[in-house]
């Protein structure tokens, strides 16, 4: 589904954010990407739907080359859902309008069709009653669940999560993770940047560990948690798991 091969990315001439990154996510697979801050994990996931340009290598998404100038990027992006660290709901639109906007403007669905779909997904994340409210009237956890629903409304073939719980108060993390776990169990293809190792051990198939812009470790979940091969991954794990 997602094929990343030999991707390099520089910010300016001196700072290389990604170094020869190669990995893949198969259909129905859940891959967790972790690593210290500044390791390039957010950059990598944003390269997948071309939110971040990269200089060399290639990414192929469902058979379509992302970094091909001829690719219709809006169309491609509409097929991949993305959830951001800071939710990024549109503050001037009501919750239900947040879910309808791209359905209507990008997919060309009718307003009624979009409303039905949107309401169904809000119900699914347990927020049907909040449809007429504005984002700022919801808690962080609720906003993030809306953001997930907004991405699902586009009927994505895969979902990208960029640290979906790091901006949340601790008591709200589980309500978001629950939604994600359900999604994983239904067979959604997912690439998740997160430090939530509990989530990883519960539903991930593979874990990727990044450091300094490199993919240091790319292993099955059991191998990763059993005995990470690299020192860096071991150190990282001991740091996060120790508390």
């Amino acid at each position: 589904m997602i094929e990343i091969s030999h991707v390099d990315k520089w910010y300016g001439p001196n700072f290389q954010a990604l170094k020869d990154c190669t990995t893949s996510v198969a259909k129905g697979e859940v891959v967790v990407v972790c690593g210290p801050s500044g390791s390039g994990k957010s950059t990598l996931i944003k390269c997948v739907n071309a939110l971040e340009p990269f200089q060399s290598g290639q990414i192929i998404l469902d058979g379509i080359k992302v970094n091909d100038p001829k690719t219709d990027l809006p169309k491609l992006r509409a097929r991949v859902g993305m959830v951001f660290q800071h939710f990024e709901l549109f503050p001037h639109l009501k919750i239900i309008e947040n879910l309808c906007l791209a359905q209507e403007k990008v997919l060309g669905r009718s307003h009624d069709e979009a409303m039905v779909k949107g309401t169904k997904l809000l119900d699914r994340v347990g927020l049907k009653e909040q449809a007429r409210k504005y984002p700022a009237e919801l808690s962080g956890g609720q906003q993030q669940r809306v953001a997930i629903a907004r991405a699902l409304a586009m009927d994505p073939i895969a979902m990208l999560f960029d640290e979906p719980t790091s901006a949340l108060d601790p008591e709200m993390i589980s309500e978001v993770l629950d939604v994600m776990v359900d999604l994983a169990r239904e067979g959604m293809t997912m690439m998740v940047v997160t430090h939530e190792m509990g989530f990883a051990s519960k539903v991930a198939h593979r874990v990727i560990f990044m450091d300094g812009g490199e993919i240091v470790e790319d292993a099955l979940k059991s191998d990763f948690f059993g005995s990470p091969r690299s020192d860096r991954a071991q150190k990282f794990l001991s740091k996060i798991l120790s508390h």
Binding site: P74, R77, A78, R79, F90, L101, K105
Partner: protein, 243 residues
């Protein structure tokens, strides 16, 4: 102060036979409002286009926006009006120049366009700053949903940015109205102009200027009240724009 106050002067007929001095001032007030509103529409339209250009990733767009703003910001408004009024008709082909010079209401159009373009540079700066103040994730979220650049601006960035800059836009609107007084130099007999001619005809200088002052204050109060109302009706529940 040995000045002969005569407040009943307003009800005496003005030379020219068009009514009292008060009527004269009212017609000036009306012209000020007309010119100001016309100029404001121009300022908003051009300012929005240029403001957006300044926020696009394209270098060319940025430079076009930069040059436009610097051009209109670094010359006194009075000089700009002289350029439009005296210089432009001589620089275009002779027949166009003749047409321009014979245009009825030339001072009105020159003032509206001249003040409008002058103010558009300031609107552009405000709007660009408003857009730049939005979290980067907003643009990314819109893009990730498959919205094109035009759609992201139309449905997401501009509606929020305009709400944020509504207070400074109120003062820019008032500045636009006040700046129309500069057009007295190209023969536009707006409110200040009428006060000045009333002073010349009647020698009651302070009554004339006091009346004009009160009228400008009224315009201010009405505009500020109106914009407050607009701000309140566009306010997003729970969202604090002042951050």
């Amino acid at each position: 102060m040995n000045y002969n106050w005569n407040w009943s002067i307003f009800f005496e007929p003005a030379p020219g036979g068009t009514g009292t001095y008060f009527n004269m001032l009212l017609s000036g007030l009306w012209l000020t409002i007309q010119t100001g509103v016309f100029a404001w529409i121009i300022a908003l339209v051009f300012g929005s286009i240029i403001g957006v250009l300044r926020t696009l990733p394209s270098k060319t767009a940025y430079w076009v926006g930069f040059a436009y703003v610097e051009f209109f910001r670094n010359m006194p408004l009075l000089v700009q009006l002289f350029l439009w009024f005296f210089v432009l008709p001589e620089l275009v082909p002779r027949s166009w120049g003749l047409w321009l010079k014979q245009l009825p209401n030339a001072p009105f159009y020159t003032a509206a366009i001249g003040v409008g373009l002058f103010m558009s540079a300031r609107v552009a700066v405000q709007l660009a700053a408003g857009i730049a103040s939005l979290p980067r994730g907003q643009k990314q979220a819109a893009t990730a949903l498959g919205l094109t650049t035009v759609q992201s601006y139309r449905y997401v960035l501009l509606p929020i940015a305009f709400r944020i800059i509504l207070p400074p836009l109120t003062s820019e609107f008032l500045n636009t109205i006040k700046n129309t007084a500069v057009a007295i130099t190209i023969g536009l007999i707006e409110l200040t102009g009428q006060a000045r001619s009333m002073q010349e005809f009647s020698f009651q200088v302070f009554e004339a200027f006091t009346a004009a002052t009160v009228m400008y204050l009224l315009i201010n109060i009405i505009v500020v009240t109106g914009m407050r109302f607009l701000e309140r009706s566009l306010a997003i529940p729970g969202y604090i724009t002042g951050k």
